[in-house]
Symmetry: C2
Subunit: 404 residues, 2 copies
Amino acid sequence: MKLVVLKFGGTSVGTIEKIKKVTDIIIGYKKRKNKVIVVSSAMSGVTNNLIKKSKQISENFLDSEYDVLVSSGEQVACSLIAGRLNHKGFNSRSWLGWQVPILTSGPHTNSRIKIVNKDKLLRFLRQGGIPIITGFQGVNIDERVTTIGRGGSDSSAIMIAKFFRAQRCIIYTDVEGVYTTDPSKLKKAKKIKVISYEEMLEMASLGAKVMQPVSIQDARLNRIDIEVKSTFKKKPGTLITKRKNINKNRIITGISSTQNDAKVTLVGVKDRPGVAASIFKPLSTNSINVDMVVQNISENGKETDLTFTIKAEDLNKTKKIIQENRRINFRKVLFKKGVSKISIIGVGMITTPGVSFRMFQALANKKINIQVISTSEIKISVLINKKDIKKALVTLHKEFKLQK
Amino acid sequence: MKLVVLKFGGTSVGTIEKIKKVTDIIIGYKKRKNKVIVVSSAMSGVTNNLIKKSKQISENFLDSEYDVLVSSGEQVACSLIAGRLNHKGFNSRSWLGWQVPILTSGPHTNSRIKIVNKDKLLRFLRQGGIPIITGFQGVNIDERVTTIGRGGSDSSAIMIAKFFRAQRCIIYTDVEGVYTTDPSKLKKAKKIKVISYEEMLEMASLGAKVMQPVSIQDARLNRIDIEVKSTFKKKPGTLITKRKNINKNRIITGISSTQNDAKVTLVGVKDRPGVAASIFKPLSTNSINVDMVVQNISENGKETDLTFTIKAEDLNKTKKIIQENRRINFRKVLFKKGVSKISIIGVGMITTPGVSFRMFQALANKKINIQVISTSEIKISVLINKKDIKKALVTLHKEFKLQK
């Protein structure tokens, strides 16, 4: 008998009608002779509403009480799912983090799951029960309620799948899977059938909001196969798996892009140890997210040019911070708005030479100027003018045959 | 150092602003060198909203999941209170039923508190902490979340006061205390300073909605003095205490009345064992609440007349049930709408002869006809025409000098 872990996100259980729909999916798996463990998020909107309340109480709401507060959301969703399954004649019950228990360590609001205790759940599964486990939460050694950070229900499901050695972990959500690029930006975007953890990590951190990077990392470290699929449409989703399961002939898996960035270039920076840190520390302190960073080798070993990108909306704040920063010496600073980043991602590029050339050539053929280049093992990113982004997406999607 | 238990009802913590107000009250007690334990209900409206959801899921929502569902409400309120106290610089934390633990027995949705474990709370109190305990809920021997019935946060506070031998248990609510009669019906109604458990029980079951009878009974059995007072007005409330603490000269403590009842009289009922049961069982099964019941002695030992009252809105349903009831024999049945019950309550009547005479005479002087009389040790109730109820209230309130 197979054991499957099904995880439902907030939008999947956002209304009573959707909860009824979700229980039908669960019953489907149960009827196919599976052992089923369900993990649920809070109904959509609930967690944000609770966070809003906490901010009205105090801008520095105590972390340990924040965890008690927001964990109530999953409690509600899980009891409703379990109640519905019982209504339909199935033996089901909710399991709160402390009841399993799911033991966590680390600070409140950002704990990590250490152990999922199996004893009680296994007994319940053997009786044919369907446990509905609260995602996102656990309990620490002091018997305090903890949470594992936002979007953490995915991680809960993955860790439960790991401890139970589940055959499958299926993440039900409001999208149909992972696409070759954002379908709202390019109609020809295609659902990806199989993607590796590493590619998914690059896609996720670049804007594919299907799963939090931390959850994908959890899956990667524990070698758990994840299927992402739609709660509302009965279609195959995307399998996130080990790199070796990926089709060897595929060079590029997906393309991601940013909407509206700004570029900052410091010309003639005194090249000495710690200079980069003294530039970026005040930005980080002010919650400005620095994306691409490129530093050219200095000609004379004394000066260098440093370029980095930020979100366009952070430009004014960044200008102020850079200009008031007395700890760095530079000759000139250039600010440029209206740039976007486009990245091609694929494990296939490791074994395929000339991928970057193909990318640059395809863009050049369309007269798209490349301002900055940055690469990793499975990703090539370039900075271009914002106005060219749509053309670049179309061009690269076609060049690497992603619509097929 | 005194230990006080403060309980806040749903309307007292109904908004963020009210929660801030409540924390000011708590801080007031703490600053007066008290050890303070707080018990809170859910924010008003929250529990009803959750119950509504459960009914949308299933008309027969599983009791054990109902408890998980609704107990989330107190969790939210308590974390917000604790968060606010920390914001104000006080050491406070929420304690969920299972964390204390508050051990209960009995069925889900209607459990009873058996033990309030003191160890962890005492340690926290010794560190100067202010525990905020979720009312209404506990945990059973199987580590399942339980609730103790609606309005049960009062009982939680009383049981906590008992186990901690608290000097005082103060129920903060949206009324200023218990009144000689309903102030919305009689402007001259006065707040009662001290009332016995027994009087309060008669007042409560007759419609004074300050505390649930079951909570008053808990206080009575455990000899806990309760003060009921307003969260929003800084005024003395009502002390509910042992009978011996009541002023011996006071004959009547309060007057309660019903709005709109109906009277049913079965004439010529065959007088044999079990006949009353066979009349009232089908009414009870149909959730019709029978109030006064008066049976006359039968003249010949074979037949009797039986009169009882019900709420006016239940009359049609009652007619149908009585007329279709084949298990009882009677000659005639009379139904009468438009009646009300008025009751005078006071432990003083036990030692004062002639109280009932004074009541009947006062009503007779105002030409108010008495249709049915029923008495208990500390209460005399009469049934009169609904149109006379205001006049009767004024008359009896004056007769027994309750406005002074």
